[in-house]
Symmetry: C2
Subunit: 186 residues, 2 copies
């Protein structure tokens, strides 16, 4: 058993913990063929907290992420809104939103931002997407900052016609036309 040098081991340790954050020091020690003390020393040097801390952080982060992905009524961050008229929302494309292979944003995230903005504009208890026409102009990559601007173009009874234009760096990447139906009173 050759002894590998400290730096190399540190890299291995970081990798392992990243991949398997639930491993205890004992597990890690076995895995890296060093003593538990060494693992503790390494963790201290690399400022990596103990398992229980790691798990806790994971649970907290995940809770937050789930909320911001699915429990929020609006996908992205609402910047400005004039109820019944127009609205602006912003969203940054993160790692979660792109295809592994090519780092291009999955279309439904862009759609989701636009759709939820369109619904947010309608001043109604219940607003449901009826029909939509969408067009992706340019593909969006990780890190880009999408600004969606929505505008009500027509109102007919309880039907709202809304156009959303999403831009990245002033360039239009996506256009959607929604017909949102408001069902406020039954």
């Amino acid at each position: 058993m050759e002894r590998i040098n400290k730096k190399a081991r540190h890299e291995l340790l970081k990798d392992k913990i990243n991949k398997y954050p639930f491993m205890t020091d004992k597990d890690l020690a076995n895995n890296l063929n060093v003593s538990v003390q060494t693992v503790r020393l390494d963790r201290f040097e690399l400022k990596i907290p103990e398992v229980r801390q790691r798990i806790k952080i994971l649970a907290e982060e995940a809770e937050f992420k789930i909320k911001s992905i699915s429990n929020d009524d609006i996908v992205g961050e609402l910047i400005d809104i004039k109820l019944g008229q127009s609205g602006i929302s912003m969203m940054t494309i993160t790692d979660d939103m792109v295809f592994e292979k090519n780092k291009i944003a999955k279309g439904y995230f862009i759609y989701s931002q636009a759709n939820s903005l369109a619904i947010a504009i309608i001043d109604a208890e219940i607003a449901i997407t009826g029909v939509a026409k969408i067009k992706h102009m340019i593909s969006v990559k990780k890190g880009e900052n999408l600004v969606a601007k929505a505008e009500v173009t027509k109102v007919r009874g309880n039907k709202f016609f809304i156009t959303v234009r999403t831009t990245s760096n002033e360039e239009t990447v996506f256009i959607a036309k929604f017909i949102i139906v408001s069902l406020s009173d039954q």
Copy 2:
């Protein structure tokens, strides 16, 4: 200090732990004005695991959820696929996917299922949604089981015309027509 009865306390305990899963027995004991022993006894009777277990479960579940919502290439469960021709996917509407107020599914989840199925059918390294026309027929509620069937209706060069029909209990709730562009070779 009046002593409340066991059943009532059990309800309180369940609520507290549900809301604040990170509380230790000590915290809970303080909060409910009983001894730590009582909390332990209660937890035992209610089959509620200890904090560290709870946190761990939370972290694991959340990890899974995040993956299935955003990291997965396909939203919903792929049931059947004939590359370049057709596909079927299934998705159950969970609590995460509905509006608080009225328990109606957010449209973009239904869209996401359809869209990701459409992309999955295309046998290409890179497939991007170009244009889509969608129509929500009936609103979907929590617990419903959505079956999306996709079919390639036309192919023109690297453009695939795909129709997706989503049903719940044999009833059509959603129809989408996508034009997916395959960018396999550059």
